[in-house]
Structures are given as C-alpha cells and as structure tokens.
Symmetry: C4
Subunit: 232 residues, 4 copies
C-alpha cells in the first residue's frame, strides 16, 4: 500500500548513486518532525475545547465562575504541561537521531496514538475529577505513552546508523530509566485510583512539579556529575 519507493529502486541495483539519494530522502526525519510538531500543536490547543463556557447569571461573582471552571481548568493545565513535557522529550530525543527508518516512522505514529487521546482524557477528568474510573482511564493513557516512549528509545539507540553518535550500554540504560520512571509513577496513580482517588489526582498534578524540581536539582548538581550535564 505504501510501498511505492521499493519499486523505484528495484532496477537501480545495489549502491547506485540515485538509489542512495532516494534512501537518504526516505531517511530524512523532516516530515516526521513536521507531522509530530503539528500533532503536538493541535493537542495542546484542542485541550481548551474541553473547557465549556459556563452559564453566567447576574449575581455571579468571579470566584464562583472560576470555581465552577476549576476542575476543567486544572485538567487543562495538567494536560497542557504534560503535553509540553512530552514535546520537549520528543525534541530532545530527535536531536540524537540523524535518520529515520520505516520502523522508527511507525513507532513514532503509534506513539502519537495515545498522545492524541490526551484531550479526551483531560475532558474525562475535567468532568469526573473524583471518579475512580475516569482517573484510571487517564492513568492507562499516560502509562501507554510512557511505554511507547521507552520502546522508541530502545529501538533508536539500538541502531547506531540512525544516530548522530553511538551510545554505550550505561547511557542506554540511564535513558530507558528516565523514560520509564514516570510510567511507573502513573501506574501507581492508576492502581490507587479506586481506593484513594484524591491521591491519584494529586500524582497527576504533582509529577510535572516534581519534574521541574528535579531539573533544578540536577542543574545545581551538574558541576559534580558530568552524567547529568544540561545544555541550557
């Protein structure tokens, strides 16, 4: 179905100049990034559609109106910051990647799949912020995203010809841990959602805060450890 280019090269034989040029164009990450940036831009903007204009009456105060919007706004801010974190992570990852093969292209699309469900998840916890079912579905979504990120990390770093620079095993393990750890936290939020929904919501809201704190701590300590050198 999407296999045309295979045919195109059929005749060119092995190692021919035009074949190599075509292969380079097929490996170019440009359109993968264009699609991904487009999806990220739309997701963070669609999140606002879940905040509905409330019914206002004459006697309504600003506090009351904002109070009614509070669950929607909290869900919006959490999901927005999460999507921002995912985008920064995507940008960091693809700064390492020089070429994309068909596997990486498809893994990236399958990573965008749970990501595109984020506005739905935000709408769900915006409306049912204390309902275990809503919190569990949101948790499943975030776990799926974390799993896909880890899969992409493993796939790409295991293929040195896709990278600008080869990574050693220690670096690959550290990267995997950094990609999976939020997934484990969200798994915990998923598991406690039934017995303690407030704790679950708190974890969703708290992880971004934790993320910014850890960045600050890592930066402060970077003089001592080259392992976590920051580029900012």
């Amino acid at each position: 179905m999407a296999e045309e280019p295979k045919v195109a090269v059929a005749q060119a034989g092995e190692g021919g100049e035009p074949e190599r040029a075509l292969r380079e164009r097929l490996h170019d990450p440009a359109r993968v990034l264009a699609l991904s940036d487009g999806v990220f831009a739309i997701i963070i903007t669609l999140l606002v559609l879940e905040i509905h204009v409330p019914e206002l009456t004459q006697g309504h105060t600003l506090n009351q109106a904002l109070g009614e919007l509070r669950p929607s706004l909290v869900a919006f801010v959490i999901s927005f910051v999460l999507a921002g974190m995912y985008w920064v992570g995507h940008r960091d990852l693809f700064a390492l990647i020089r070429r994309t093969d068909r596997g990486l292209v498809w893994l990236n699309i399958l990573y965008l799949l749970p990501l595109c469900l984020l506005p739905f998840g935000a709408g769900l916890i915006g409306r049912y912020d204390t309902e275990p079912v809503a919190l569990r579905i949101y948790g499943l979504l975030l776990v799926a995203i974390a799993v896909m990120r880890a899969v992409i990390w493993l796939y790409a770093t295991n293929r040195p010809h896709l990278l600008w620079q080869r990574l050693d095993d220690r670096q690959r393990r550290a990267g995997l841990a950094l990609n999976l750890s939020p997934g484990l936290v969200y798994l915990a939020a998923f598991l406690v959602a039934r017995t303690a929904p407030e704790v679950s919501l708190l974890i969703y809201a708290g992880l971004p805060v934790l993320y910014f704190l850890s960045i600050t701590v890592l930066r402060t300590g970077r003089a001592r450890s080259q392992e976590y050198a920051d580029f900012t």
Copy 2:
C-alpha cells in the same frame, strides 16, 4: 483567479534567468508538503473529537465504561492507523518527486478532500458499527482515497521531469497495483456491508494488520528479491 505568476513572466521572455528561477520556486514541493503534513496532523488529532466523554455513575466499573466507549475507540484506532498508512505512503511517494506542477498540486488537494472526510466516517462507524449504511459510506470514502492515490501515482510517474529518477513500465505497473489493491479490498467491504456488516467491519479493522504482516514478510524475503527492497 490564482493566475498571478503567469503575468509575471510575460515580459521576461523565453528561457530568461529570472523566469527560470520563478519556475523553480513554483515547482518547489515545500508548501505542498507543509499543507499535506498539516492536514494529516489535524485529521489524526480530530479523530479524537468523535470519542465523547461518557456519562459515569458511582457504580460504574472501568470495564463498563470502556465497553461503552469500545465502538468509538475501535473506529478511532482503525482510522488513526489508516491515516498513518496514508501519510507514510504520501511521504514515500514524495520522496520520488522533485518538482510539482499545477496538475500535481491540484491532484494532491483533491486527494486531501476524501481524506478530510475520514473523521466524519470514523464518527459514523463509531456510532453505527453494525449499520450497513454507515459501513458503506465509510467504504466509499476509502475507495475514493485509493482511487486518488492511484491517479496521483500515474500522473507523477508519467512525467519524468517531475521525478528525481525515471521509472520503467514494470515499476509503474507494480506501484499502481500496490496503490489500487487496498481500494479493491475496500470495494469488497463496501459490497458485503449490506448482507454481512460484521465481515465489512472486520475488513476495515483487518487490513492494517494485514499491511503490517505483509511488510514483515516482504522484509524477511528481501534477500531473495531486490524488487521489494526495503530502506528501513
């Protein structure tokens, strides 16, 4: 209406340097790709809007909630993977294309037309997943997309000056078959929708699976046949 540049060249005469530069800018596929990537990004993200936040009550279990969402989710996943396949196919095709003329620009726009109806089709089978009419409209949509893909393939490969590298007749026929074959399968799904709607839905859901399987098989066998060489 959109004919300004024609005038611009009027005076420059034939083969002049500025005229040739303008022609190159008009042939540049950059904005065609920017528009297409934007449309693809929006389509796969809009699909989520067809999944509505369900009514949850205290006694609701996760399974019940997911059960009610199932048709919408299935339609979302099918349409998402389909759109992903179309995007990969578009990227592969345009890796062969060096220049776009007015005909190709318009064929690309007319290809985006049925593609933009995909979220509507997904909403339709998400709500009426056993209704023949819904399944037939969805089938018509997918057939239209396949036809437009084949038309673009024929148009572009028939104009060597638009390509990085000329294709021979055998390659063109193979590419046409690859572009049309899913259309024939969808035509079958359209035809059986009235008598056996479950079969129809199964075909829609099954083709992407088939696609991934066939890629895997082709890759495994690529050592024996250069015809289906993969670049991944």
Copy 3:
C-alpha cells in the same frame, strides 16, 4: 506591543552589518508561510466538522442517508475547492515575493481573517442552502476575501524591493483583474441571492468548475500568447 526589534537596532546605527542581518531575518517570509499553510490546512479540515453524523434507522437506505447529508456535503465540497483555490493563489503570489515587510505581514493576517470564517459560512449554507440570508452572508465573505487578495497584490507589486523581479504596469493590471474578477462574480451572487437563491448557489458551485475550465483553455492556447504562459 510587538515593537521589540526596533529597539534592538537603535544603537547599531545605519547600515551596520548586524542591523542588516536582523532586517533580513525580519523580512524572511518563512514564518508568514508557516502560519498561512497552517491556517489553510486547518480551515480545509475544520470544514468537515460542519457535516454532522445523521440519525440512522434500520430501514434507512444509502441513498436516503446521502440525500440528507447532501446540502452539508455540497457546502463542504464547494468550500474545500474554494479554499484550495485560495491556497494555490497564495502559493503563486508568494513565489513572486522575496521579502515581507510589516505592512505585508499584517495584510496577510487580515486576509486570513475572512478566510477563517469560511467554515462558519459553509455551515450556514450547509444548513440553509435555499435561504437568501445565508447565501448573502456567504457572498459577503467571498467578496471580502477577493478584496483582501487584490489589496495584497497591489501592495506587494507596488514595492519592487519586496519582489524577486519587478513587474510592469500592464502585468500589475492583469494580475489585479485576475484577483478581482471572482470577487465581482461573488458580488453578483450576493445581489441575486434575495430574488433567486438557486442562481446564487449555482454561482458558488459553478465558479470552481469555471476556474478549472479556464485553466484548461488558457493552457491549450498558451502557444499563441506568452501573456498567460503556464508553468505546469
């Protein structure tokens, strides 16, 4: 408000190297095109949101369902093709433009304004396809777009330093006529909407057909007249 760069140059004095480099970056059309392509991509995709999933019942035939969708589908196709024509025109125009100044940047934004109302207009005639008021509002929209296109054409072609190549008066007049003529046709459609709504709708539906016909005719005749040379 958006005047920061003015300050940046204050000290550099006239004709300094850094000042000239900043000026070039401010004149770069890249982000103007990125914003415009994004808006076009979103508009043609949002149009589908005006096609609502119909209520289907067991006895419903495909023809009945499509019949009910007909006005929405017609409005979708008309508006989609119109938006496509506007995008092709925008791409053609900016193939002439080398630099964008603040005036051109703002005229482009003000051109996008009526364009962004197109999905609303399509929804209006999709629902009230025989209602004079709906047809007149749609006509006003299309006239506004045509006027903005003519204004941009005059502004840009009157400033040779913004262009890759200077145009003479005859070329400028011909381009203006090509930009304004559809506006005059839409004005006619607006004016007859009250007395003959069917004629009005026919004009909206017919102009794109006319456009494709005229392109074909112009192409056939291009050997005789260099004035309408096509680049395709």
Copy 4:
C-alpha cells in the same frame, strides 16, 4: 523524563566535537518556532468555532441575522487581531534569538498556555459581552499573556549567548516597557469591568486600533528618532 540527551553526552567529555554538535541541535529554535506557529494558526482558526450558525426563519433579514451574530463576530475580530499582534510580536522577538536553551523552551510553552485559552475567552465575551465576570476573566487572560511576554523578553535579553546581537540596558528597558504596557491597559480593563463593563469592552476593542495608530505615528516620526526605526 525528557532528559535523554544528557546521558548522550556523558561520555563525550568536555568540548568534544560531537558534544558541541548535539548542543547546537538542542539549541536550534526551528522546532520551537514550528510548534509556536502551529499553535498560533490553530488558535486563530479555532476562534471561528465560537460563532454558531444561528436559527434562521423565512422572514429573517440579513441585518437581523448579522445583528444576532454581532457579539460573537466582535469577539472573533478582537481575538483574531489580538492573536495576530501576539504572533507578530513573537516573530519579531525570535528574529533576535539565535539559540534556545531549556529555560527559553519552557517559558515559550508557558506563554502558549494562556494564549491557548484565548478561544475560550472569546467564546465567553461573545456570549456575555456585558457581563462583568466574563470581561474580568478575559482581562486576566490578557494580563497573563502580557506578563509571560515580559518574562521571556527579560530572560532572553539577559543571556547574550542566546541572541544574535547583545542589547544594552536602555534597549532592554524600552523593550520591557513595550511588552508590559498593553498588560497595564488590560489590567485597567479588568479593574473597571465590575463598575463599567462597557468601558472594559471598549478597551479590549480599542487597543488593537491604538496599536495600528501608534505604528503609523511612529513610522511618520522615524526620520527624527532612530530609537523607533522600523524595518518595513
């Protein structure tokens, strides 16, 4: 979570060539601009979703229909022009910026947050254009945007290695004033919303007009003062 690249550099040591290349890719503003342009394009297009197709009846005149749409249309036009001003300001600012570090990347995301709420704010004042609460929420939104713009200005201009060209203190203060001043005006609109909602709405509608007037005045007077030199 989004820290993979840190690991990648761990082994390369200080000042190595690959490390420097990775740092340059991480500092590249390209994807920051792609995300931002995407968000801006979506915001100005989503604003139209707040204009709902009105109920039309046979006896309805064009004036009546437009009259009912007036508050929505006014809110659309105000918000559209505001978003346009923000985009022009963003483009001007990033014409000064050569590199983006992690802080700037995140500040830009946090700037997009209140911006993404603009369609919600427009929907609010489109429906309740004389309601103090709606006008105050809209004001809060615009103040938040102005504050984030000032923060980004301070952050970027305080880090000469991020800029193409260093700014002196006078330029930085002037830029800060230009970024903060609309925020002060919106703060005033927020404060008077309770006692004089009409004045508040007038300020929101009037500021863009003021902006265009001041640009014209500044341009006319630019011969006398190099401080406000324009690049157009």
